[in-house]
């Protein structure tokens, strides 16, 4: 049975940066579908990424978190995108933080396939999108930070998620 669960959200609003960055935490053991009898867990997080007005600040909000059993392979991300979301994972055991890159949900590039076999790219900008990330549970993981990375603005921190047991 799945339990309804809660994610505590703490928002620190800086008066200077107009609530650009939210801060919250998840307790992995309380996530929906977290099976205490399984040794290995995979965590799934979905963030809603928004930009209220053109050239406005990018904001992130955790809208869904769920766990699954098992191990996953790290296929890495081979594709570069001019616009990206960077997730930085911090660990308590002195490991170097691990950076992972994802396509920016507000500037998604999709391949367009013509019926004659030719291919092309189409970039779609949006004011709202979903970032889905998946990673192996690691007892030493303490924090995940999200950065919006764009050619004109560089890397801007948009979210900080504390990971608790």
């Amino acid at each position: 049975m799945l339990r309804r669960s809660s994610i505590l959200l703490l928002i620190f609003c800086s008066q200077l940066v107009h609530c650009r960055q939210a801060k919250s935490y998840v307790r992995t053991h309380e996530l929906p579908n977290y099976d205490k009898n399984s040794i290995n867990h995979i965590l799934f997080l979905d963030f809603q990424i928004t930009r209220e007005k053109e050239n406005g600040a990018v904001k992130a909000e955790l809208i869904n978190a769920i766990a699954g059993n098992g191990k996953m392979k790290d296929l890495g991300s081979g594709r570069g995108h001019p616009d990206q979301i960077k997730a930085v994972h911090y660990f308590s055991d002195r490991r170097t933080p691990v950076e992972m890159f994802y396509e920016h949900p507000l500037s998604r590039t999709v391949e367009v396939f013509s019926q004659d076999g030719n291919l092309g790219k189409s970039t779609h900008t949006a004011r709202q999108g979903t970032l889905s990330i998946r990673f192996q549970e690691d007892q030493a993981r303490e924090k995940i930070e999200l950065y919006s990375v764009t050619p004109d603005q560089g890397a801007v921190k948009i979210y900080s998620l504390l990971v608790k047991k």
Partner: protein, 608 residues
């Protein structure tokens, strides 16, 4: 600067109970354990409860298509394919009908479906899904260990998209979209069409390096269709691809090119270990029975089976190529002897230089004969090497910890000595104060010195003169099955089949081998269009810094200058006469082509 914060605490309730539902996971193709396979999950959108059998059938069709596609067909046992049927409230998917390229006979309709798939608003055939959290919940609950996701949408109209996962319709051409996208997500192949500014980066099938001696796919340059192809003009001119309109990563109606196939096979072998199991366990030394014992590895064979198994006992190869070996007790002459199985996939799909070293998997057992006292020594796989070669050194017979003169402490080390070297190792016997020393000398011979060149570039019909410089033997190979043992071989009446890379190999007294390559350029342009050739002047030739060109026919003429490797350096369009500044070019031989209307001519230009 001072920043003041106010803190607000809010409670966010995430209610997912209704969405995170368990569904039956259908196994379409199960080859083995999830941890040692690449796992593809096929999802469906726009299939109602009653249409789930149709979805399962379509999933099987895609799985069959994928598993028969080269090189996945050889490695079909390295994949598991699952499908999860999720019922949509309505059949079919949304068609906004707003795009310029919307199909006129396809009804415009809005559908309530599980993942919210829709044809595109602005580009019609761009079919995407929208319910990402539904997708996360479905995968977390039903198949969290998936590696690749393919979403089939229930529409007969052509469309699809790629990103972190593939989406495509049931149109018969659309399944290639899934295979193309898996090329991106699994193997990190780049597109071989120019996808626009910012889309050039180093990938197995894209590079900024056009040097034929060092380019990633150098080992394929002698094969048909593979070369060094510029992506285009402008920013694209900095990037190269291995073939032109000849690969699934460029056009959907082609299969993967050889370079993409190689990368795919290498990637599969990186993720899946061909050694599934072995027996007996090797965590502790195996105490031998008097009558001897059997050792076995269980292998995951590609089709056809390209796995090679080699066994060695005490560092010496055994004459056994099978997946098991019987070791009689009498074969062991020391207290501790290592038995090693080395497994290598010798597939011809890959020509990567370091593949054997990188991909050989080994299983080692320590065989113990309790009736023999300890004898500690080093075994070298080879004790004479050519410069640049490596050998493994194995410390045999230590029941304790090791300390090599190289600072390493593993049982097997790899040594690449530049000169003859003495290696030593100490064995600190467990539970005692005993230290046992051992040593070995590895003799290293120098490599021969060799260089290669040719007198080209040539035009069709010319005589190719290859030149080598070495002190020992000459062994040439090249395009069109060219072979020669002469120092300076000659090929008469050159044709386009003769162009490409020629390699000369030499071997010295110590058996050490070195090789050098030279690229022969044969211009496919007509030797001379007599009408134009006689009415063109390119002078001075040899030139110093600038040239003048005069053409008798009126109308625009095009002048293109290439280096001897065939790379375009400059082009100019002019009428009848022009002057071109070449100060920036290094001295050497260049090739030009000149065209006027349908007439073309070409020539060599020497720059001093």
């Amino acid at each position: 600067m001072k920043t003041s914060f106010t803190a607000i605490t809010a409670l966010l309730l995430v209610s997912i109970g209704a969405l995170a539902q368990k569904f039956p996971v259908d196994t379409i193709y199960k080859a083995g354990s999830i941890d040692n396979r690449v796992n593809i999950v096929i999802l469906g959108d726009g299939f109602t409860q009653g249409e789930l059998p149709k979805f399962l059938n379509e999933s099987k069709k895609f799985a069959d298509f994928f598993l028969s596609y080269s090189p996945y067909n050889r490695y079909r046992n390295y994949f598991n394919i699952f499908s999860i049927g999720t019922p949509s409230k309505e059949s079919g998917i949304t068609n906004p009908g707003t795009a310029f390229d919307a199909y006129s006979d396809q009804p415009v309709e809005a559908k309530d479906t599980y993942f919210g798939a829709s044809f595109g608003n602005s580009v019609h055939r761009l079919v995407t899904i929208s319910n990402y959290t539904v997708l996360s919940n479905l995968l977390a609950v039903n198949l969290p260990s998936y590696d690749l996701v393919v979403v089939l949408v229930n529409s007969p109209w052509y469309g699809g998209s790629g990103g972190s996962f593939a989406v495509h319709t049931l149109h018969e051409q659309a399944n290639k979209i899934g295979v193309h996208e898996i090329g991106h997500t699994l193997t990190h192949l780049n597109d071989e069409y120019w996808a626009g500014s910012g889309y050039g980066w180093e990938a197995p099938n894209m590079t900024a390096n056009s040097n034929i001696a060092t380019i990633k796919w150098r080992n394929w340059l002698n094969t048909p269709d593979i070369g060094v192809f510029r992506h285009g003009n402008g920013e694209a001119s900095n990037w190269y691809k291995p073939t032109a309109t000849n690969c699934l990563m460029e056009v959907l109606h082609r299969e993967f090119c050889k370079v993409c196939r190689e990368a795919t096979a290498e990637r599969i072998l990186e993720l899946v270990n061909p050694v599934e199991q072995f027996s007996p366990d090797n965590a502790e030394a195996v105490v031998m029975h008097e009558k001897g014992m059997s050792f076995a590895v269980r292998l995951l064979a590609p089709v056809p089976n390209s796995l090679m198994v080699e066994w060695s006992l005490g560092g010496k190869p055994l004459d056994v190529k099978t997946d098991h070996v019987d070791i009689p007790s009498a074969a062991l002459t020391t207290r501790i002897t290592d038995l090693t199985a080395s497994i290598f996939d010798s597939t011809l799909i890959s020509r990567q230089d370091d593949r054997k070293v990188r991909r050989t998997k080994t299983v080692t057992w320590k065989l113990e004969r309790k009736d023999i006292p300890m004898n500690f020594h080093i075994v070298a796989a080879k004790d004479t090497l050519c410069a640049g070669e490596s050998t493994t050194l194995t410390a045999q017979g230590c029941l304790g910890t090791l300390n090599w003169s190289t600072g390493e402490s593993t049982q097997v080390i790899t040594a690449t000595p530049g000169l003859s070297t003495d290696f030593t190792v100490s064995c600190y016997e467990r539970g005692t104060d005993n230290i046992h020393p051992a040593g070995i000398t590895i003799v290293v011979s120098p490599l021969p010195i060799v260089s290669a060149s040719n007198t080209g570039p040539y035009f069709k019909g010319a005589q190719i003169e290859l030149k080598a410089n070495a002190t020992d033997s000459y062994d040439w190979t090249g395009p069109d099955n060219f072979k020669s043992v002469l120092q300076n071989p000659v090929i008469k009446n050159a044709d386009t089949v003769n162009r490409g890379i020629y390699t000369v190999t030499t071997r010295n007294w110590a058996g050490c081998v070195a090789s050098a390559s030279t690229q022969v350029i044969i211009d496919a342009l007509p030797v001379a269009d007599n009408d134009l050739h006689s009415s063109v002047q390119v002078f001075p030739n040899p030139a110093k810094g600038r040239i003048f060109i005069k053409v008798k026919p009126t109308g625009p003429s095009n002048f293109i200058l290439y280096d001897v490797a065939g790379r375009e350096l400059l082009r100019k369009t002019f009428v009848q006469a022009t002057e071109i500044n070449l100060h920036k070019l290094e001295s050497g031989i260049y090739v030009y082509s000149l065209s006027n209307g349908k007439n073309e001519t070409a020539g060599k230009l020497l720059l001093e």
